[in-house]
Amino acid sequence: MLFSSFDFLVFFPIVTLAYFLLPEKFRNTWLLLSSCFFYMFLIPYYIIILLGTISTDFIAGKYIYKENNPRRKKQLLTFSLIINIGILFFFKYYNFFAGEFVQLLGTQNTDDFLFKVVLPIGLSFHTFQSMSYTIEIYRGKCIPEKSYFRFMLFVMFYPQLVAGPIERPQNLLHQFNTPNRFDYDRVKSGLWLMLIGFFKKIVVADRLSLLVDSVYSNPNGFVGVPTLMAILFFTIQIYCDFSGYTDIARGAARVMGFELMENFRLPYFSKSIGEFWSRWHISLSSWFKDYVYIPLGGNKVDRWKLMRNVLIVFLLSGLWHGANWTFIVWGAAHGSIVVIERWTNFTKTSFSKYFGILYTFVLVSILWVFFRAENIAQAFEILSNAVHFPKTALGVQFRGLGLNAMDLFLAGIFIALLFAYDFLVTKTNIYEWVQKRATILRWGIYYTLVIIVVFYSVNDGTKNFIYFQF
């Protein structure tokens, strides 16, 4: 089920209301059933894969904890990781690697070697979350969950099931054991967060996607300003799409009394690429840091190994996003820039703060082209088109973009609103500021936001969240 669909508008109040009306002992069961329904709403039978991963990790966790022999413990962990990564590999990477390998051998008909499977939604998210459970038990930082259903709920909790944040057992599991009372202020704060998320997704991201999709589906047809706008718009679109999802997820969880981790911390205000990665998709960055970077030696190795570790993490991060050379190049490019920044002590140089923000924003925008493009050639074509300025009138250049002048005007207004909001967030807690205002002003702000979200959304029910594909 999509957060931005009308189905969710029905699902969410029913699930939440029933959650608070039910006696405490039935609440987790209700949440689990609701989460199963939420997941199965899209492709029902893929829940079998999810149950396979959950069962493996639940059993593995128990045995890893009981086992005293370190070698045996490691074997058990390896076994569970192989199962998880095996499933992930089969659905997400097999076709890519098999296709590349077969092409390398010079075989023309690659179809014979490929499987026609649809990637289960959010596979990388819930697999990584499930894996963190066994790894944390292995490390002794977490004890196994006694209840299979509670563990199921940890992996399947619907707000974060399909696109994160990728939670750690220490943060989320215990919350299912704590009774949640209806808290008026907390519910209000959760709904506010959801409203901001909806604004980002269906008002900003979906509106910008109209222009972005037109350019990326026909890169030959646009040069100069439209292409530059597509690059800029995608930078904003992906932020609004993914952080919008996270806001809705965190908001929905908060309404019911659960606190999910922060996943974005104003990434486009970063002063370096290294800093950008500490503010963008924080739950994934920290996952790779804790489970790949640090085990490889982290910072406590010589310079060359440190650079190697950084590159490995970024390559894996690129590959996590998808089985395509575009993601690998995107990850490698980010990794290389982080390496250069570390080498040159970039963050300690005396550039102005605004130069750092501009530098990061421009580089990140350019690299998003690789992320969005269908292949490397298309990415270079778009980058090349962006710096060619034809002499034809701007109106002609904009023909076929799928956005009229009014849409462009509204897009500009909403982007300005978004950046103003983000800028104010760096100065103050906007939610708390709103709460301290007089009722008439506070309600005026709520009404304005709801009216914008309801009447100015671009939601035809076909626009998925970008990160669902991962």
Binding site: F182, Y184, R399, Y447, V458
Partner: protein, 304 residues
């Protein structure tokens, strides 16, 4: 919890009232209820605002076996005259400013409600262009399928407001219509022809439509509607004669094609047109009569 529900109800009240009002006025006749605004007024005032949505809902409420699909030029082709001659219930599912990809979507929309017998696509060279792309059909289709989406839609809300305004001030005069003649010839021609690319995707989709029609015994016909000769001359002005030829050859290879957009008695007489691309009612009737009787005096059947 009681306090929250009370405040939420209070907060939602204006929205509930507004949505109720939209559903009651029902500008696009979605619910087919007893709207306070009479149907004729809604048809004359609201259809021009979003003809695609209006016609989609109207068609959904009363689907027909014979359908005309096209843009504002196809609007003038008389479906009532066609129906009178053939005795087939006919619907003109036109949409102002429709693009070819949207027209294809309209075909699938029409087909989903009724087993079709005949379909006429009003197409012109200016639509046969990758850059002539529209994105309204899917969102309008969604509005047709969901009452919740319909009552919460901004355009439907604006139409409600407009209807209530007209309803409450019946004597108020509408602004005069702008003379589009010069605008269409210069600005529109530039808009139509200054950027061209063969629409491969649309051709694939049309072939899919054609295949479907063949399999389901639906008679598919493309009608190239007439432009005034001064507008026709804009094609060589933009060096697109070859492309126009390819356009006619391509669509005639997909389905039966009747061409009215060549140098003929209609196109050489400016009195037949309200502006360079929109022919008048009597020409719409002439085309409807020729299509219904299959007796073509001006329309040329293009053989592939």
């Amino acid at each position: 919890m009681k306090k929250f529900i009370l405040k939420l109800t209070l907060f939602s009240l204006p929205f509930v009232l507004w949505f109720g009002l939209v559903a009651w006025v029902d500008p696009f006749n979605f619910f087919q209820n007893n709207s306070p605004v009479e149907r004729a007024l809604r048809e004359s005032e609201i259809r021009p605002l979003n003809s695609m949505l209006f016609n989609m809902i109207k068609y959904k409420n009363a689907p027909c076996e014979v359908v005309f699909i096209g843009d504002s030029r196809t609007r003038v082709i008389s479906d009532s005259l066609y129906s009178e001659i053939t005795h087939d219930p006919t619907f003109n599912l036109y949409s102002n400013k429709a693009k070819l990809n949207e027209m294809i979507d309209l075909f699938w929309f029409a087909e989903s409600f009724k087993k079709l017998k005949k379909v006429y696509f009003g197409v012109n060279f200016n639509l046969f262009n990758t850059y002539a792309f529209g994105s309204r059909s899917k969102s309008n289709g969604e509005l047709c399928s969901s009452p919740l989406k319909y009552i919460t839609n901004r355009a439907v809300g604006e139409a409600t407001g407009m209807l209530l305004h007209i309803f409450s001030m019946p004597g108020e005069k509408k602004p005069n219509q702008v003379d589009f003649w010069k605008y269409n010839l210069e600005t529109k021609a530039n808009d139509f022809y200054s950027k061209y690319d063969f629409p491969e995707e649309a051709v694939d989709q049309l072939m899919e439509v054609s295949k479907f029609c063949a399999e389901h015994n639906i008679e598919l016909t493309f009608v190239i509607v007439p432009h005034v000769s001064s507008m026709q001359k804009k094609v060589p002005f933009y060096h697109l004669e070859r492309e126009e030829l390819i356009f006619k050859r391509t669509i005639s290879g997909i389905a039966n094609t009747v061409d009215y957009d060549y140098n003929n008695a209609i196109t050489t007489d400016t009195t037949n047109f309200g502006d360079p691309i929109h022919f008048k009612k009597h020409i719409g009737e002439l085309i409807a009569r020729e299509l219904a009787s299959k007796d073509f005096l001006i329309g040329q059947i293009i053989h592939h």
